[in-house]
């Protein structure tokens, strides 16, 4: 039975940071509805508030006004239904790969925490590295552990803050493929922050373009390309170009404004 209530609902969220005497409006009337199982990319220039929005959904920050709801229940703080994957991994360096992944299940005092962790360790292809410490892993492996860690915690929403931004191009491509596979297998909902149009075009069902000063949603675009997508295909290029235009249109306007 499908739940008819909206899944992840960001409702008129505003966020103002006060730094000294300065007030910075990071988010301005942001509304976004994400359906269950959808892969949504947030894209925009730095300072557009995309990371702030992600942190509000994670519950790490409170909106100044408005709220975020999952199945109509407002988010009040961090919760295990929403798992954040950080750009710098944020693995617990004193724990082995296995213990990092089992951390969430252990908090719930599950007896089979290790079994759950093993399952997700297999899913990200790191079974052989269970007893390694994070410092013994490459960046790509660390990010796989971070993804397995939130999946093992049974997060239904994956919040990914430029997760592949620090990786080399080859590793990034590999992880993008693996993420799509995991997404298909687990049917999690993904909110993915990136500044790469190509990455967004490759991954997302929807690409939400945000603009800065104050941060707001500029456009919400469905990517109607069949999967698996091929970066070199003509229709992929068309989709990417049209997104790039949406992303840069306001950037080209701005110097004219300031000159006037």
């Amino acid at each position: 039975m499908a739940d008819r209530r909206p899944f992840l609902h960001i409702r008129d969220v505003n966020k103002t940071f006060v730094i000294g005497a300065e007030r910075i409006e990071a988010l301005h009337h942001v509304d976004l509805l994400v359906n269950k199982g959808e892969f949504v990319c947030l894209i925009g220039a730095s300072g557009c508030g995309k990371s702030t929005l992600l942190r509000i959904v994670a519950g790490f920050e409170q909106p100044t006004s408005g709220d975020v709801r999952v199945y109509d229940a407002p988010i009040t703080g961090p919760g295990s239904d929403r798992g954040m994957v950080f750009q710098d991994y944020a693995l617990f360096p004193w724990m082995t790969v296995m213990d990092n992944i089992a951390f969430g299940p252990k908090q719930k005092d599950l007896k089979d925490a290790k079994d759950i962790a093993s399952r997700y360790l297999d899913m990200v292809g790191l079974a052989k590295f269970a007893d390694r410490f994070p410092y013994q892993l490459s960046g790509g492996m660390k990010q796989r552990v971070a993804i397995a860690r939130v999946l093992a915690n049974e997060a239904s929403i994956l919040l990914m803050d430029e997760p592949f931004g620090a990786l080399d191009a080859l590793t990034r491509e590999q992880l993008q493929d693996e993420l799509l596979e995991i997404w298909a297998r687990t049917q999690v909902t993904i909110l993915f922050v990136t500044h790469s149009v190509e990455e967004a075009t490759l991954l997302a069902d929807r690409v939400v373009v945000m603009t800065a000063g104050p941060g707001r949603i500029e456009s919400d675009n469905h990517v109607r390309l069949s999967r698996p997508r091929e970066v070199s295909a003509p229709d992929f290029n068309d989709a990417r170009r049209s997104l790039t235009e949406k992303l840069t249109s306001h950037l080209r306007r701005r110097p004219l404004k300031s000159a006037a």
């Binding site: 994670a58 519950g59 790490f60 703080g77 961090p78 919760g79 295990s80 929403r82 798992g83 954040m84 950080f86 710098d88 944020a90 693995l91 617990f92 360096p93 004193w94 724990m95 951390f103 969430g104 908090q107 719930k108 410490f133 994070p134 410092y135 860690r149 939130v150 915690n153």
Partner: protein, 268 residues
């Protein structure tokens, strides 16, 4: 073969330099005493004799013969009594001050005011509180070890990547569990720095602590040596404190290397 031999040679060189330098100092000491003809400073040989007597007797056969274990154990009891008290109080307090702003606001100003007071300045008051005896020594050792442990623990907590706490929160870990499972292990590298510093202060302060009229302990042996004008006894006490402190520091380093095996840059 080349690659195998190199580390062995390197280790031999490190050993030769590390052991050769103090040996050279001892030779220099001997030469200096002989050349100056002073009677105030004993030769290394006289100190060696004194140490033998202190350990096994049979040389002077006086009140200090064969008493090394009594004094060493008495001092170690006070050093580790004070040190473990400092750790037992300093680490939890440091975790709380580092993570909970209420504790920081409540305690930080007071501790900052008390910290600059030299431990030796507490000596008269400590004799009032704890009397003339070992408890006073334990208190001084505690004071000396407490601040390095506390401050390094606070620093350790404050310098943890806040994302680790966020990650723990989102995985359902908070409250007391957060302290045990995340705050404490994350701060461990810095805590170990505090332990090592505090531990060396504890050994430094044992002499001061045992000046307060206790009959046993290496500090009291040194004070006796001074009163009796027996510099060989003074230097014997100094050497034993140095060696005991060094060996115990190696134990802490070994523990450090095991506990922090996840962090190659924190291996001592």
């Amino acid at each position: 073969m080349e690659r195998l031999r190199a580390p062995v040679l390197e280790r031999a060189r490190a050993l030769a330099l590390g052991a050769g330098f103090p040996l050279a100092l001892v030779v220099l000491w001997h030469v200096a005493v002989m050349a100056s003809g002073t009677r105030l400073v004993p030769t290394p040989w006289m100190v060696a004799l004194m140490m033998r007597d202190f350990a096994f007797g049979g040389v002077y056969d006086d009140a200090f013969s064969k008493t090394i274990l009594i004094h060493l154990l008495a001092s170690m009891q006070r050093v580790y009594g004070g040190f473990f008290l400092a750790v037992a109080l300093g680490v939890p307090l440091g975790l709380a001050i580092g993570k909970i702003s209420l504790f920081r606001q409540l305690l930080d100003p007071t501790l900052s005011l008390l910290r600059p007071i030299p431990v030796t300045a507490w000596l008269p008051l400590s004799m009032v509180f704890f009397g003339l005896g070992p408890r006073s020594a334990v208190f001084l050792v505690f004071l000396g070890a407490f601040y390095p442990v506390l401050l390094n623990t606070i620093f350790g907590v404050r310098s943890v990547d806040p994302r680790l706490f966020e990650a723990a929160n989102m995985l359902g870990c908070d409250g007391a569990r957060l302290f045990r499972q995340v705050v404490l292990p994350a701060a461990l590298p810095s805590i170990f720095t505090g332990l090592r510093l505090g531990h060396s202060f504890a050994w430094i302060l044992i002499v001061v602590g045992e000046m307060t009229g206790v009959p046993t302990g290496l500090g009291s042996v040194i004070m006796d040596g001074r009163t009796l004008s027996r510099p060989d006894l003074v230097i014997t006490g100094m050497i034993i404190i140095g060696v005991a402190g060094f060996l115990c520091d190696r134990l802490i380093v070994a523990l450090n290397n095991y506990v922090l095996r996840w962090s190659p840059q924190h291996r001592g």
